[in-house]
């Protein structure tokens, strides 16, 4: 009988792009945690759309919004994802600046 280690992750069929995707998300959350530890962001601020958001909220809105931007991009704009990525970065910048 073939035995496999519990650390054998081949069943998850990882690919480099999906790996980078998750590393990017986890890194951004960890970086936010580290930043919050070093210099706490404090109470929520009142920004655009009338929302009261902390830094963490803004990160969440950036990531969730980026998912939808990417979907719209690959669905109706182009097969190339790089243009969508640029829009996502602009979106995240706008969220952190104004919301």
């Amino acid at each position: 009988m073939q035995t496999t280690s519990i650390f054998d992750l081949s069943w998850m069929v990882w690919t480099w792009p999906t790996g980078i995707f998750f590393i990017a998300i986890f890194t951004s959350i960890a970086a936010m945690g580290a930043l919050e530890y070093r210099s706490p962001g404090g109470a929520p601020r009142h920004g655009a759309f009338g929302l009261d958001t902390t830094r963490g909220d803004r990160l969440f809105i950036s990531i969730l919004g980026s998912c939808f931007i990417m979907l719209a991009w690959v669905g109706w704009a182009s097969d190339e994802i790089w243009g969508g990525l640029v829009v996502c970065v602009l979106w995240a910048f706008a969220i952190f600046k104004w919301v």
Binding site: W11, M12, V13, T18, I81
Partner: protein, 288 residues
Amino acid sequence: MSSKTQNNKAWWLVAPVFIMVAFNALVPLMTVVNYSVQETFGDNVFTWAGVHWFQDVLHSERFHSALLRQLLFSGIVLAIEIPLGLGVALTMPRKGPWVSVCLVLMSLPLLIPWNVVGSMWNIMALPDIGLLAKVINGLGIDYNYTRQPVAAWFTIVLMDVWHWTSLVALLCYAGLVSIPDAYYQAAKVDGAKTWAVFRFIQLPKLKHVLTIAVLLRFMDSFMIYTEVSVLTGGGPGSATTFLSIDLVKIALGQFDLGPAAAMSLIYFMIILFLSWLFYTLMMKNEDA
């Protein structure tokens, strides 16, 4: 300057939860993301497909109609269950022996497993033997949920209302009981009518439990699978094929892992977005 005591050791107490979530949510989610960008022909051979499945799902007529049905169902269910549950909670006794009777009766539907609920309503609504069908047909209304889409929708909504209104009622009841008597006494001194007491004391005080009730009912109804699967199986035709039912058909019926994974992710994102939206809207002007 904050003078709060900081003890970060408490984080270790949360560690087991993190590990649990990692195994039952994060790892499967990662696997789904991996599947969504690949094509498989069985035998564990996967080939890169890029964003192809996402494009397929986004342009699929079948996905659009399942999503519309799902949204419609959640809308109807919320519009009925939230006011009804609140109304029931307002009429429930706050003191005396009837309190326990009411609480037990209200909890009963919540204790019944989903597939049993589906089977119960299936038997109740069957055109030839069901009590519900007999009564409705006896009233002169042609009712057959296995043939008529409207009848199928009516039965499913009725089943969900029966199953879950008590959750809303119990949550609201807990909120109502926790309002201190002083508020009611003050209202009495001011000569407030029942409506004013409800509008300016009870409703604002129930804001948090209502938020929880709306979120729970929305997420649950948006992900409904078992009851509908047992009762109608998505039929007649595809009249009650909600996203979850369609997803299972694609993933396990046709074994199209890639499209099913892409659809799951889009489904997940919609739930995440709508839940965030509800929460944000209901918690807005919290201090106002």
